[in-house]
């Protein structure tokens, strides 16, 4: 029982991170119908910028949480600027181009960012200094650290905040209108260029938070970390129903749980025939099943209503 609980906790922590990154994919897709494959690299940039600042301040004697917040305070604007630039340089000129063109530039931007990060921060792995409290708590025999609790809570808070923003504010209404029909939204006086830029900026700020979380939780940051993370988060977004905010959250948490439980039990369930390295296969198998029966994802509806 405690093992099952531990696996569920593992899955929740992993899933919260996936969900936060998946939001970035889903927001952009919801509004522009574009898959921003460079989003994973924005997470990576966020992690590396935050880490660079944190390492500068690690010995300053400030409390660890303050240092982490300062790191985030530096990473978020950088990521926002990167997100804004990506949209201006790689996507806006192609807004009327066939849908494949921005997909290709997205992959191009991703490679450029990766190599840029490699030039700036080098090929080595960067370790997260042990500044955050790592006290462990026993919950019915399972272990969870304060950091992991913080990750799940912060992720939930960010997602709730984003929901409110989209559903309850003027900006959110403009975003929904742009998603519905850009041309008509423009006729109604919505500055869609501004809205799209803002969408990228907000998604990138979330990416900065996710980047800090990943590097703090695994105490690791590397110029290559965004690739796999981005791929997983994209999968989560599709699983939940890309374009829907709730879908990204549900998909992220589900993917985390599937991976965790899959890796933990697949070996025993198949009598050792399939090992824990099939956890990704397991995740994608679930994805395929969902897409066969619900092509637009778990909570997705027909393309008519997005974001």
């Amino acid at each position: 029982m405690d093992i099952l609980l531990q696996q569920i906790i593992n899955g929740l922590v992993l899933g919260s991170i996936y969900a936060l990154v998946a939001l970035g994919y889903t927001m952009v897709y919801g509004i522009m119908g574009l898959i921003n494959f460079a989003h994973g690299e924005v997470v990576m940039i966020g992690a590396l910028v935050a880490l660079a600042v944190i390492r500068l301040l690690a010995d300053s004697g400030l409390p660890g949480v303050v240092v982490a917040l300062v790191g985030l305070g530096a990473a978020a604007p950088v990521c926002m600027a990167v997100g804004f630039t990506i949209e201006r340089v790689a996507y806006r000129p192609l807004r009327r181009a066939p849908r494949l063109a921005p997909l290709i530039t997205a992959i191009g931007v991703s490679i450029v960012l990766q190599n840029l990060a490699m030039l700036i921060w080098g090929r080595n792995y960067h370790a997260f200094p042990p500044i955050l409290p790592t006290s462990q708590h026993e919950v019915f025999g399972a272990t969870i650290t304060s950091l992991q609790v913080a990750i799940v809570l912060i992720a939930a808070l960010m997602m709730g905040g984003l929901m409110l923003l989209v559903q309850r504010t003027r900006l959110g209404r403009a975003m929904r209108a742009t998603a519905e029909n850009p041309a008509i939204a423009q006729l109604m006086g919505v500055d869609i260029n501004r809205i799209i830029s803002l969408t990228f900026v907000i998604g990138s700020a979330l990416a900065a938070v996710a980047g800090l979380m990943v590097s703090a939780n695994y105490s690791i940051a590397h110029y290559y970390m965004g690739f796999i993370l981005g791929l997983k988060a994209f999968t989560a977004a599709v699983l939940g129903g890309i374009g829907k905010l709730g879908g990204a959250m549900l998909g992220g948490i589900l993917l985390g749980l599937i991976e965790s439980l899959g890796a933990g039990y697949i070996g025993d369930l198949t009598g050792g025939f399939l090992g824990s390295h099939y956890q990704d296969v397991f995740a994608f198998f679930v994805l395929i099943c969902v897409l066969v029966f619900r092509p637009s994802g778990l909570v997705g509806e027909k393309a008519a209503e997005r974001a």
């Binding site: 093992i3 593992n10 992993l14 792995y125 370790a127 695994y218 105490s219 796999i228 899959g262 090992g275």
Partner: protein
């Protein structure tokens, strides 16, 4: 090709010669042409460019190790050029063609084909067994000698290619020693084994499992991850439920470090042991204080115990920064290739290939001699443990002492014999309290053996 600091007339001559050589001399399966040797030596020594391919992942999760390998090769090449070798009457300039295989077997063969097409004189690499094995066929077909400094999967040399060599003990040798070490020295009764499903990780884990079982341990569970993963909570949770004494990881440092850390986070208190892939400063950096007291192994003996090893370490650190892992081995690999060319008096792969197999070279990592397959003869394995955030040498196990130190070995044998005699005498003298005294005698004997081993090591060092 670069010909800096060479007068322009000479440059033209050299370029022509080099071009003639490169196009006619390499990669052909025809009988050896004494191309270079036949070139008449003009007053101004001609210059030949020897192009060595070097392959390692320069992008992706293992890029830090790949760059380290490349730096090792680059340093060897720079030193060779500074030395101004003459082979076959021509001044030889080494040039390194550094390629990136992304640690991906598919990319490995693409890059290998590129080097074959470029008609390189030899190949140093690749880094990973998974890329080295498929690439080795291309080099074998083209007759290009390949010396890897880090591909340890036994299959690499077992395919029957006479072009395949490695200057590091293979996974059978290493896994065997690690398995024995886990059970005997670390007193592990149950072990959990994790590997990254790469040719290297899987191969090493398989050999470890065999050896650990043979030594009497029980395998609690066998888990798997990938060489790009960062989250191991799920498999570690499962391992925790089986309560093993020791977790063995077959894979690289980028996973090993975080894995050790996550073990601590989950409250899994087993010992952690990994092979050469995790034996890096990066492992400690990533695992933090969770790595304290954990173990790893590395083929060969510690650099500072090798003749010229410390010197190499200092020079490398000054030029490229901290050694990650395989740079000294790759440095040796380049030197072995150059040494074979010198003895063959030719840089033609078809000619000097025969000499590679006959290598007897005092490298910075080991005295390098190859067996019939192209494996390093008598590869010993050293164990290290993290102490105060640094890898600390524990002991060297297995392998014959470095060849060429046979007298020292003989001496050591004598010492062992004496020790045994002493043991016997001690036992005899024991009288009634024979048992206890004998035990002490054994201890004395063991001490003597240890001294003898020390003497061997010292003798080797002197050599």
């Amino acid at each position: 090709m670069q010909f800096t600091r060479v007068p322009s007339t000479m440059l033209a001559v050299a370029a022509a010669l080099a071009a003639a050589f490169v196009t006619a001399g390499c990669g052909q399966k025809e009988e050896a042409k004494p191309q270079v040797a036949a070139v008449p030596v003009p007053a101004a020594a001609p210059e030949v460019t020897v192009r060595l391919g070097h392959v390692a992942p320069l992008t992706g999760p293992q890029a830090h190790l790949g760059k380290d390998n490349e730096n090792g090769a680059r340093m060897a090449v720079d030193e060779l050029n500074a030395r101004g070798l003459e082979i076959g009457g021509a001044k030889v300039r080494f040039e390194l063609l550094a390629e990136d295989d992304q640690a991906d077997p598919k990319q490995g063969t693409i890059v290998a084909q590129k080097l074959v097409d470029a008609k390189v004189n030899g190949v140093i690499g690749h880094l990973n067994s998974g890329t080295t094995i498929p690439a080795s066929k291309l080099y074998a077909d083209a007759g290009i000698p390949q010396i890897s400094g880090s591909a340890t999967n036994p299959k690499y040399t077992q395919q029957g290619f006479k072009t395949a060599f490695r200057v590091m003990a293979n996974d059978v040798q290493q896994g065997k020693i690690l398995g024995g070490f886990a059970v005997q020295q670390l007193a592990a009764k149950t072990v959990a084994i994790v590997d990254d499903r790469s040719a290297y990780g899987q191969g090493l884990a398989d050999e470890f499992e065999k050896a650990a079982v043979a030594a009497g341990a029980k395998v609690a569970t066998r888990e798997f991850t990938t060489d790009k993963a960062t989250d191991f909570a799920a498999i570690l949770t499962k391992i925790k439920s089986k309560k093993p004494d020791l977790v063995f990881y077959g894979g690289m440092d980028a996973q090993g470090g975080p894995m050790a850390k996550q073990m601590k986070t989950l409250g899994l208190k087993a010992k952690f042991l990994t092979g050469d892939g995790g034996c890096t400063p990066e492992f400690i950096k990533l695992g933090g204080d969770a790595t304290e007291g954990q173990y790893c192994s590395l083929p060969g003996v510690p650099l500072e115990k090798m003749p010229g090893g410390k010197d190499f370490g200092d020079k490398f650190t000054a030029k490229y920064g901290q050694i990650q892992l395989y740079a000294p081995y790759v440095y040796d690999a380049v030197m072995v290739a150059a040494d074979a060319m010198k003895r063959a008096n030719s840089v033609d792969p078809a000619v000097y290939l025969a000499e590679v197999g006959k290598t007897d070279y005092p490298g910075v990592t080991a005295r390098i001699q190859f067996d019939a397959l192209g494996d390093l003869k008598g590869g010993s394995i050293s164990l290290y443990r993290v102490k105060d955030g640094k890898w600390e040498y524990v002991e060297t196990l297995g392998g014959e002492p470095a060849a060429g130190a046979q007298e020292a070995v003989a001496e050591a044998k004598e010492a062992v014999k004496e020790a045994a005699k002493a043991t016997g005498e001690a036992a005899k003298a024991a009288g009634e309290a024979a048992k206890e005294m004998a035990r002490e005698g054994v201890k004395a004997g063991a001490d003597a053996v240890k001294n003898a081993a020390e003497a061997t090591k010292a003798a080797v060092e002197k050599k």
